[in-house]
């Protein structure tokens, strides 16, 4: 990964299984930073307008292979990275990412894409200044998703892998494998692990404390010190 150039902004990423509550947590952190008048920008996985159409078509028609699935997400990421994240970082913003390259490493890794190929693919992406990994037992994550209204989508449930004809069962197996990937990855990659079984408010206190330790909030406040 490419961190050659020092940038005035800071990059914060959250990762974790579906149902880990990471989106809630980063949303609360976003509100908090905004409330303090910070220059902050939020972006989420798979959200580039330009790429959306292709992703939709491919997913609907189930045309995607592990390789094209991975590439389409890398295209989405690169588009957001080059046109939003990097300029924002250069402009001195705190950039919050709901899922980052680790999501691809985990999911595409389960789909059989080779780790070295994936790492090279995302070689242009900076290592976050802070990576928060929301960890919870597989069982809890599955309960949270499957006990709600499990409107699972084909690829989200890993149906393309042919684990099971039952979409809920396929999701269980797929999530288990994604979890293994995350656990292995974050054994060696620096991150702050958050216990996602704790009450939302407790987690958020820890998130805020960690952010405060990672960056100097005052530096990012509009009209604050440059």
């Amino acid at each position: 990964m490419n961190n050659n150039e020092a940038l005035p902004g800071k990059l914060i990423a959250v990762e974790g299984l579906d149902g880990s509550g990471k989106s809630t947590q980063i949303h609360l952190a976003h509100q908090w930073l905004k409330g303090m008048g910070c220059k902050v920008f939020f972006t989420e996985w798979n959200s580039s307008e330009l790429v959306k159409e292709a992703t939709k078509i491919g997913k609907k028609k189930q045309l995607l292979t592990p390789t094209t699935f991975s590439l389409i997400h890398a295209t989405d990421f690169a588009d957001r990275y080059d046109r939003q994240m990097l300029p924002m970082l250069k402009g001195g913003y705190i950039v919050l990412c709901d899922r980052y390259i680790f999501t691809s490493f985990a999911r595409d890794g389960v789909r059989g894409c080779r780790p070295d190929w994936l790492r090279s693919l995302y070689g242009f992406a900076r290592i976050p200044d802070l990576t928060l990994y929301f960890r919870l037992p597989l069982k809890t994550s599955l309960e949270r998703i499957l006990n709600g209204r499990p409107n699972l989508k084909y690829f989200e449930a890993g149906m393309d892998m042919g684990y099971s004809l039952d979409i809920n069962e396929s999701f269980r197996i797929f999530q288990g494998k994604v979890m293994e990937q995350y656990e292995n990855m974050f054994k060696s990659f620096p991150c702050v692990t958050i216990d996602a079984t704790k009450p939302i408010h407790d987690q958020q206190s820890l998130v805020r404390k960690t952010i405060t330790e990672t960056l100097d909030i005052a530096q990012f406040q509009k009209g604050g010190p440059k």
Binding site: L50, V51, K52, E53, A54, I57, G58, K61, L63, L64, T65, P66, T67, T68, L71, I72, A74, T75, A78, D79, D82, R83, R111, G112, C113, R114, W117, S120, L121, G123, F124
Partner: protein, 233 residues
């Protein structure tokens, strides 16, 4: 089969030993006469009794529309464009080229990863990154590079279209505001990249400054003996 079939390793879930067909690539810059040659070669191979599948760099249904829309606005970075094209390439590779090779077809490709790589590199994307990006591509049995002088290509382009193409003139890069100058610089940059790949990827250089019949004879004799070797030995 012990021969290496992929530049690095095959895409997930692809078994190289099942690929009994032959991939033949015709590369060359614009107006080098590629499609004219392929139009003659494809039926000729079929006459010899081999099934032929023609592929090109045309957009697949997967990213075609999105890519066209993005090109319209010209807002994507070189890197994003590279990934878009790579998605499109692998879609074709996995859904058209590999199935045809599995079925024992002769796959005739009107351009391949080399044109895509050259375009990306000219736009500032790193060579090593692009190489890794395309490292799951099938290695062709032969890459015939139609080499045509700059003068001939300019003449052919202008007489065929009476204008220059925005992308093929590299107007998106901002080489020059003058279309002809930009076209000239861009074509030179592209040919530098092709020269660089020549040795690494083992292109057979075909002198395509000759008239179409001579080029056709040359290609047929090469392809004829290649098919002989591959299917009968």
């Amino acid at each position: 089969m012990s021969k290496k079939r992929f530049y690095h390793l095959p895409p997930p879930a692809v078994d190289p030993s099942k690929l009994s067909g032959v991939l033949i690539v015709i590369e060359g810059m614009d107006s080098s006469g590629r499609s004219t040659q392929i139009d003659k070669i494809a039926p000729w191979i079929e006459e010899k009794g081999y099934a032929v599948s023609r592929v090109g760099l045309k957009r697949s249904q997967l990213v075609g529309d999105a890519l066209d829309a993005a090109k319209q606005g010209n807002v994507l970075s070189a890197q994003t464009m590279a990934l878009f094209y790579a998605t499109d390439f692998y879609d074709q590779l996995e859904n058209r080229i590999l199935p045809a090779l599995r079925a024992g077809y002769v796959v005739l490709a009107d351009r391949y990863i080399f044109t895509l790589m050259a375009r990306d590199i000219v736009r500032g994307v790193e060579y090593e990154w692009v190489k890794s990006l395309y490292s799951m591509a099938v290695i062709p049995e032969a890459v015939y590079y139609l080499n045509v002088s700059w003068r001939t290509r300019v003449d052919r382009t202008l007489s065929a279209h009476h204008t220059l193409d925005y992308w093929e003139s590299g107007m998106d890069i901002g080489l020059s505001r003058d279309w002809f100058d930009s076209f000239a610089i861009y074509q030179r940059l592209m040919s530098t990249q092709f020269r660089r790949m020549q040795k690494e990827y083992g292109f057979e250089i075909i002198n395509a400054n000759r008239n179409a019949e001579e080029v056709d004879r040359d290609l047929k004799s090469r392809i004829g003996s290649l098919l002989e070797r591959r299917y009968h030995l």
